[in-house]
């Protein structure tokens, strides 16, 4: 296994452990972003592997040895943008919940939002 494979796996499961054990909503979002970043680093790391030719550019008169595969970068730009949008929506909801319930604790917010729902 290469370094570029091991480190993202470790970071990914660190994020997963964080999600399993953090009681705070903001920390959970941070762990989620950590997982996203691990995946992005992993796939970007696939760009250059010795002996692998990029899928495009073969018709050009350049020497393709040592040229990185551009596809993972293109994919990860998309993934980063989607991740950004989702994180933004997450925080929109969290801001709303925090303003309403004055808490960022999963259990407290859950109890409070159930309570406020029963009232209406």
């Amino acid at each position: 296994m290469r370094m570029m494979e091991i480190i993202p796996i470790i970071v990914f499961f660190m994020g997963m452990f964080g999600l399993m054990f953090s009681k705070n909503i903001i920390k959970s979002v941070a762990c989620l972003v950590l997982m996203e970043m691990a995946v992005i680093v992993f796939i970007l790391g696939l760009s250059y592997r010795a002996g692998v030719l990029p899928p495009i550019g073969r018709g050009l008169q350049y020497n393709l040895d040592g040229i990185a595969d551009p596809l993972p970068q293109a994919l990860m730009i998309t993934a980063i943008i989607i991740g950004l949008a989702v994180t933004a929506i997450d925080f929109t909801m969290i801001i709303h919940l925090v303003r309403k319930h004055k808490s960022t604790d999963w259990n407290e917010v859950k109890a409070l939002s159930r309570e406020s729902f029963d009232k209406c």
Binding site: V39, I56, P72, V86, D90
Partner: protein, 532 residues
């Protein structure tokens, strides 16, 4: 050609959004839906003739570009998607929804069709992730109706699951150098088995989460049970959204054929079904009852797909269609009922037959569908699922169907009795009745022409044997008798209510959902890596 199926709903959505949302626009939406449904039918006929239709997006031939593929299975599900959105559009004709509602609904349709047609791993990721966001906004877009907390849990848990999928894509790309499912299937088949274990476990964790199997099912009832979320969204979540994940499950089991574990998913499917019926019969909330019942049917479908038999496989595919039809019908009925009685508590809804015979008959039809009564679509699909199963699995499936019958009896109990003062009267809109009846008649037609439809939709020319059919009817009647006795002495008994209350209280919080995702991943990795 296939690109238009993805783009058309989205373009229509934007146009309808730009021009204000009055009733004319909703009628235009229905007409547009009908046109899309017509084209989907045309696509299915074309696929039947040609076998497979490919579209190279951007005209990049070969593996450079993105490929959309319509085979029989994909075309059938595109038709189902278009049909169900048409029915839901008719149902919501008189509802004063905001403009955003229709925008998001049509975009959701385009995304789901995209998932069914796509042959590219990364495209599926983008479409599934955006569909998650669309659903999250749909269930709480309205300021008066918001329930942020469950929406947040839904969105975050789905994002966690999709990260596993993206990691899996990375591995597949590392191993094969392609993102096209067809090419990846061919290349992965030549690689050593141990290289595929980790990507398979990663991807299946995400797919199983999206398909809402045990232990990760709890997000689905949570979202569908959100108070005052639009009825149509809850209906389509278990009718279509989850089906798209099961569709991907079928696709990826083929892609990872060298490592694909059928035993694991057979066991998981059966456990999901059993847990689903137990949870469903304990509920008192009409929508939660239907939501957990969906979990049970999903388990049955996953189990059927994991039985190595062409009959069970075709039966499961047909059950996906059957389940979509009667579950959407029941969810829409639940929406009408909660409007009629001003509550979703099944203990307070009584005497539907006395108040409204029309909706009462629709309930009977849909319940006959879900229990697998003869002449209804559930019967055909469940017959074929069980015909390929061995003795143990067959007995378990009979037990699960007994549970489904209990769910139906519990739902049907609302038909009788005398309505109390909670009855507030019915809104006078014919369109929702039309939609519900259209679905119920489709359930009926799906039973009478079941074999023909299976051949038409999935190219599965199987016949039911006469003796098998008679055997089925005997088992079913016996199950009904047992179900009625159990209902009378266990469920209607006041002494047992505390026990059911404890089952109802079982609820995973966000951390619990994350632990279950991690646990599923570890189990999948262990089973695929060491046990098989």
């Amino acid at each position: 050609m296939l690109t238009y199926f993805v783009l058309a709903p989205i373009v229509i959505a934007v146009f309808l959004y730009l021009f204000s949302s009055n009733k004319t626009n909703r009628i235009i939406a229905i007409v547009m839906q009908a046109i899309i449904t017509g084209f989907a039918l045309y696509l299915l006929l074309q696929t039947r003739q040609q076998g497979e239709i490919l579209t190279f997006v951007g005209n990049y031939q070969g593996l450079l570009g993105v490929v959309l593929k319509a085979d029989m299975m994909a075309a059938s599900f595109v038709l189902l998607t278009a049909l169900l959105f048409l029915v839901v559009a008719i149902y919501s004709l008189h509802e004063e929804n905001s403009k955003l509602f229709w925008l998001l609904m049509f975009i959701w349709e385009g995304l789901l069709i995209g998932i069914f047609l796509s042959r590219d791993f990364f495209n599926v990721f983008v479409l599934a992730e955006v569909a998650t966001v669309v659903v999250a906004v749909l269930i709480m877009y309205d300021k008066g109706r918001r329930n942020m907390f469950d929406g947040l849990v839904f969105l975050m848990a789905n994002t966690v699951a999709i990260q596993f999928y993206l990691f899996g894509i990375g591995y597949v790309y590392m191993l094969t150098g392609v993102l096209d499912m067809q090419a990846a299937t061919d290349i992965l088949a030549t690689l050593p088995r141990e290289n595929l274990i980790l990507p398979y476990a990663l991807m299946m964790t995400a797919i199983a989460f999206k398909a809402a199997v045990i232990p990760m099912y709890s997000w689905l009832p949570k979202v569908q049970g959100i108070p005052r979320a639009p009825d149509a969204v809850a209906a389509l979540l278990s009718g279509l959204h989850v089906k798209s994940a099961i569709f991907l499950f079928i696709r990826f089991q083929d892609v990872f054929a060298p490592v694909a574990s059928t035993d694991l998913f057979l066991v998981i499917g059966l456990i999901t079904a059993i847990v689903g019926v137990v949870m469903a019969v304990s509920q008192v909330d009409i929508k939660l009852l239907l939501a957990y019942s969906s979990t049970a049917q999903i388990g049955l479908i996953i189990a059927g797909l994991s039985i190595d038999d062409p009959y069970s496989h075709a039966g499961s595919l047909y059950h996906m269609i059957s389940h979509a039809l009667y579950k959407v019908a029941l969810f829409l009925i639940a929406g009408v009922l909660s409007g009629m009685y001003g509550t979703r508590d099944m203990r307070k809804i009584k005497g539907i037959f006395k108040k409204d015979k029309f909706i009462g008959i629709a309930i009977v039809l849909a319940l006959l569908g879900i229990t697998g009564a003869p002449l209804f679509n559930g019967n055909v699909s469940k017959y074929f699922i069980m015909s390929g199963a061995d003795y143990v699995v067959n007995s378990l499936m009979i037990l699960i169907n007994l549970g489904t019958i209990l769910v139906a009896i519990k739902f049907g109990a609302m038909l009788f009795g005398t309505p109390d003062e909670s009855y507030v009267g019915k809104k006078t809109d014919k369109s929702s009745d039309v939609a519900i009846y259209a679905l119920c008649l489709m359930c009926f037609a799906g039973g009478i022409f079941g074999e023909e439809l299976m051949d038409f939709l999935f190219n599965a020319p199987f016949q039911m044997s006469f003796y098998g059919f008679i055997e089925k009817i005997i088992i079913l009647s016996a199950s009904w008798v047992v179900g009625l006795v159990v209902y009378k002495y266990v469920f209607a008994d006041n002494k047992n209510q505390a026990f059911f209350g404890r089952i109802r209280a079982i609820d995973l919080n966000f951390r619990g959902i994350c632990v279950s995702i991690g646990a599923f991943f570890v189990v999948a990795l262990a089973v695929v890596g060491f046990l098989s």
